[in-house]
Symmetry: C2
Subunit: 292 residues, 2 copies
DNA sequence: TTTCTGTCTTTTATCTACAATAGACAGATT
DNA sequence: AATCTGTCTATTGTAGATAAAAGACAGAAA
């Protein structure tokens, strides 16, 4: 295969859902807009709909003939991009499987194991190297630096500098800045989860990322915002990996977030700093506890 | 060509210089060590030396037969790695040639222009993207964000946070830490250049990088040290590009460095912070002046 | 015993090829 | 006049192939 058609499959699945709600589909450019793909892909989707007798397609008319059935969808495994597959495989290997610092990483072996070409693995490793967990020896292998205590300390040190600065900027945002509305929305989500914490505590991870990203964005600094990717990926896999006391940890973090949100709302830099520090400190402790 | 043999050519040239100074060459592993290449490459070099009647090679004996002539060397253009060539080409394009922010970057076109395969260009762009000057639209082109005023401000904001913190760590280093010896050496280089500033002011750029890297390393934080790459590349090309008042600018920066070095030596955090701030402020102004 | 060389295998860096996807343009439709 | 469709071209993402470089191992030399 030269290129996976995951863009097509994923857009196709999403388009099937749209189809369930109407009697006829909009124009090709509009569909492309909604699905975030080019017209070429839209037309491929429409052709397939026609083949499967889902629609009658004649130029501008795209009338829905029947409701989609579960087996009209592509399996979700087939809609993940290669990059996502490689990332998951790789993270599982280095977090779960004995990931000794100093271990060598072999592109060819990794590619064989994942069942993909070397090019994609190589590009993934280059992109991934900015997370500071691996390092390249030119003309030779990569070295795993490992998810160690030092790594976590270095990461949190920078995180704290950046987030404190971002929080300081946040309190100074004008009242009509859209970030305030988003903050309100995020606060509501917090209260929703807290109200039913026993069943919904797993939703915290995603919300955590959303909240901190919003704060970092207030910095208006691309380096600070980009660095949040590093934090997000580490915490993302960390949550998947370390589930001890997840309910209590998450409940506490939600409370801290609420205090932090209120402090931001106060427009008082000193209060915001204090709430931010308190939360970051406990986030750091949680992360460190999970490292042997 | 599958792979350039620039490693061979570069090591070969360096080995020729070694050869000029002795009557016989050391063992293969030792040569590999000295040149930083594998035995395979060492043996390729020795084979060529033998072919060109530069040495008589019989197992452990590698006796020098004649002195190398200038035409024994490979031309220096052939010893640059592809990555270096691509980087230079690219930087020239985006700094010199009308680099409008928002411009599209096309992998194929870039590859054709540089005369290389798309893979190498692609990998370069991925590596380069961490500098925050370009951004990828998946399944589509890259976008040049441009060397704009905002870029410079965002860059210097983070630089100042990181360097202030690093300087604070530096003053607290124990007296037997090797950084102090390096600092002494760097200080001597500063005085050397200042003493003959009219002829040697061009050497400042390299020294500047060395000095600030030393300071950043005191942070013991990989993210802070890695970020210095971004600063270094920007200032490196900036110096090549903007030569107005170079002599005065550099003389002033050298004096600021000396004050900064003395402040670090004092072990007084407040003095160090003040000297650091003063220098960073003027570095920022210089950078901003060069942006339209 | 230790270090070196000869030989062989494995891996990386790079090119080329090709399907998937994006995107451009002219003529058709509203 | 504005938007849409049909058709065509160009670019990206990925696999596969191959020379260069790294590296492993056994036997030779010190």
């Amino acid at each position: 295969m030269a290129k996976q058609n995951t863009v097509f499959k994923d857009a196709y699945n999403r388009c099937l859902k749209l189809l369930a709600d109407t009697s006829s589909l909009p124009s090709e450019p509009e569909l492309g807009q909604v699905l975030g793909v080019s017209r070429t892909t839209v037309r491929a989707i429409l052709s397939r709909f026609e083949e499967l007798q889902l629609i009658a397609w004649d130029k501008r008319k795209k009338n829905v003939l029947r409701q989609p059935r579960p087996d009209d969808y592509f399996p979700t495994e087939e809609t993940d991009s290669l990059a996502e597959i490689i990332e998951r495989s790789f993270m599982r290997r280095i977090l779960a499987g004995g990931a000794e610092p100093g271990m060598q990483i072999n592109e060819l072996e990794l590619a064989r194991e994942i069942g993909t070409g070397t090019t994609s693995v190589r590009e993934f490793l280059i992109r991934f190297s900015r997370f500071g967990l691996i390092e390249k020896r030119p003309n030779s292998h990569w070295i795993l630096k490992g998810f160690t205590r030092e790594f976590a300390l270095e990461l949190t040190e920078v995180r704290e500098m950046f987030e404190l600065r971002s929080a300081a900027r946040f309190v100074a945002l004008p009242d009509d800045h859209p970030a305030w509305a988003e903050l309100t929305q995020i606060e509501a989500l917090h209260r929703g989860i807290l109200a039913d914490i026993d069943n919904r505590y797993r939703e915290f991870s995603e919300l955590d990322e959303k909240f901190h990203l919003l704060v970092h964005k207030a910095s208006s600094n691309r380096f600070i915002v980009d660095f949040y990717d590093v934090i997000a990926i580490v915490f993302h896999y960390h949550y998947q990996w370390n589930k001890t006391n997840a309910r209590e940890r998450n409940a506490r973090a939600l409370e801290e977030h609420l205090a932090y949100i209120e402090a931001l709302r106060s427009h008082d830099p000193a209060r915001a700093e204090q709430a931010c520090r308190r939360h970051l400190q406990s986030a750091r402790e949680t992360l460190l506890q999970s490292i042997p």
